[in-house]
Symmetry: C2
Subunit: 361 residues, 2 copies
């Protein structure tokens, strides 16, 4: 959606409320219900979608403060768009301290209203010019990122020329463009494993783009990978720890999004991702050192089998998670070091990349 369009949509929405008040009617705002109960998963769509559930916020004595806060948040968004500026979630909270009685007391309150506005207009927070606090991930490999400097001149950022360092993804990525002839994107859970592949020049040898997720990927990181893979039309392979957290939190969030932010998933998930490893079967095939599953792991795995629409849809995932529970073991992506530091780049990854069609979905 273009910059002008959102701006106009906010103004239109405010005018509607204004005219209702002038006609002495009760103004209302409609927004989707944001919860796991209002979510559906269709594999052809590829991400958790919002259902039909709507909530209506009507101006009454009881809702007057939230109503005013929502309008002030919309107004702030409009100002940011016009000024070509942005505000972090925390900054938006502090700005509200000048809103008199509409000031927020705690940041979670302002975050909730921000989510409502976002869902109401059906656009993502970055398009409203609100950005999260956390930074994105790190990138190295066969990729040129196109950005602009403060004077508007184009910058070509060559991610093949960072040596042992890397390109750090900004917290807002909507304005970036990309040039690349890479064959695939490898999304890596830990900074340690990322650095290992960097050290062995892995992206140069295999013509790929390495992205360090740093745990559960931030919004900026997921959006970066999504836009990158859409633009380049290349697959995304996830290389994470073989435990319920790596599968059900890191990978699942990357691929189909999360339940409590379903209004965002269409922008922030990466449906074209597949799961390279580490799989429970790899523990056996590669004789990997493991750790026993903890209680929290077992609970998370059983919950996923029972309640997660993504896992429940994919038989191969149910089998893999059941295998993990049967083994009673979890495995980390650096466990390959047992066979020598080069094993992961000389044996494991080449083995796997011969058959990407066998990756878990």
């Amino acid at each position: 959606m273009a910059k002008v369009a959102i701006d106009l949509k906010i103004i239109e929405s405010a005018r509607d409320i204004h005219s209702k008040i002038m006609r002495r009617q009760k103004p209302t705002m409609n927004m989707p219900v944001r919860s796991l109960g209002n979510v559906r998963y269709t594999p052809t769509v590829g991400y958790f979608q919002l259902g039909q559930g709507q909530k209506t916020r009507t101006l009454t004595v009881g809702t007057v403060k939230t109503f005013a806060q929502t309008l002030k948040m919309m107004s702030l968004s409009k100002e940011l768009i016009l000024a070509d500026d942005m505000a972090t979630k925390r900054e938006a909270y502090y700005i509200s301290k000048n809103w008199g009685q509409a000031a927020f007391t705690e940041q979670p309150e302002s975050d909730t209203v921000m989510d409502d506005v976002e869902a109401m207009f059906g656009v993502n927070r970055e398009q409203l010019r609100f950005v999260p606090e956390e930074k994105g991930g790190d990138v190295a490999g066969r990729l040129v990122v196109l950005d602009r400097d403060a004077k508007g001149r184009q910058l070509k950022i060559d991610c093949a020329r960072f040596g042992s360092g890397s390109y750090s993804i900004p917290i807002d990525v909507e304005h970036l463009d990309f040039q690349s002839q890479a064959k695939f994107i490898l999304a890596i859970e830990t900074a340690g494993a990322f650095q290992r592949l960097l050290k062995y020049d892995y992206w140069d040898k295999t013509n790929c783009i390495l992205i360090s997720l740093g745990g559960v990927p931030t919004r900026a990181c997921r959006r970066f990978i999504r836009r990158l893979s859409d633009k380049l039309r290349i697959p995304v392979y996830a290389f994470v720890d073989g435990d319920p957290y790596g599968i059900c939190n890191i990978y699942r969030t990357l691929k189909v999004g999360s339940g409590n932010a379903a209004h965002l998933n269409q922008y922030f998930c990466v449906p074209q991702a597949s799961y390279l490893g580490v799989t429970p079967q790899d523990i056996i095939d590669y004789k990997l050192p493991t750790h026993p599953l903890k209680q929290v792991d077992i609970k998370r795995a059983k919950d996923a089998l029972k309640n997660d629409p993504f896992i429940k849809h994919h038989k191969p995932w149910q089998l893999a998670i059941q295998q993990m529970l049967d083994l009673g073991q979890r495995v980390e992506q650096q466990a390959f070091a047992k066979h020598g530091l080069e094993f992961v780049v000389k044996k494991y990854l080449p083995d796997k990349l011969k058959n990407p069609s066998k990756f878990l979905p």
Copy 2:
């Protein structure tokens, strides 16, 4: 210390043990005691130093496993140096899985032995070729980082040309060199505040280098700032949240190091750092929105006044922390947004930078 020297030191130490065994004597290893009780602070030195306390590890029936593990860890370090490779702490742990009965059961065990080896040889872990898991911080501004690609060709990484993105510091920084005419380094606690200064092109207007710490700075980030500031001979100003965590954890660790890793502080602290803000006095001078101190904040502040050798040495810090306790308030670095998003770059930072000599020590 040169590459060859550490290598030879390891061999020499191993030969000594070997010859003792051949002569049927009990071999021993000496290493410093690593604890807050064995630390001293001298402001002219500028960081927490290890005291004289030593512990001796003698080969007996009870110590045979740890003794063997220490020798295997020294051997791994030697191999890594000769191969010009490195291993993360977690990789080193997994490599030990091939050491038969000397294998570690949990990673904290291997980390402890690694710390012992490090303290024994009086060098830092990176020189032994062991690197932490976590990545460093992010950098933008008037700085060219010199690194090499996998083929040994020099790379000039210009941190002024990354647009809204930035340079991500690698987990090992010993090999990097720097070129810059910048006047100072601004070390920033949060990614959000870093992005704000980037957005307003702050480094270009003030000729400085911006570094995002991302909370308590990692070893790599602290070492990067230290080497940078040593090489360029420019000051480091810390801009962090005005709360006991920002002062006593983030800033104190950056400047003088920490107690439980005192054998490292000579490499990883930044004695030339000073504290720009946010100070408790700023709350009053700039009418900033605050949050009440939590119980954990009060405890941390009182502990610092009573036990922290750094705080106890510096009267201005005692007054500032007492003022914070009297106000009963903490303040975040993004609180300036209350006065408008540009306030921090147009008013607060310029005000402060007129008198760096007034910064807290």
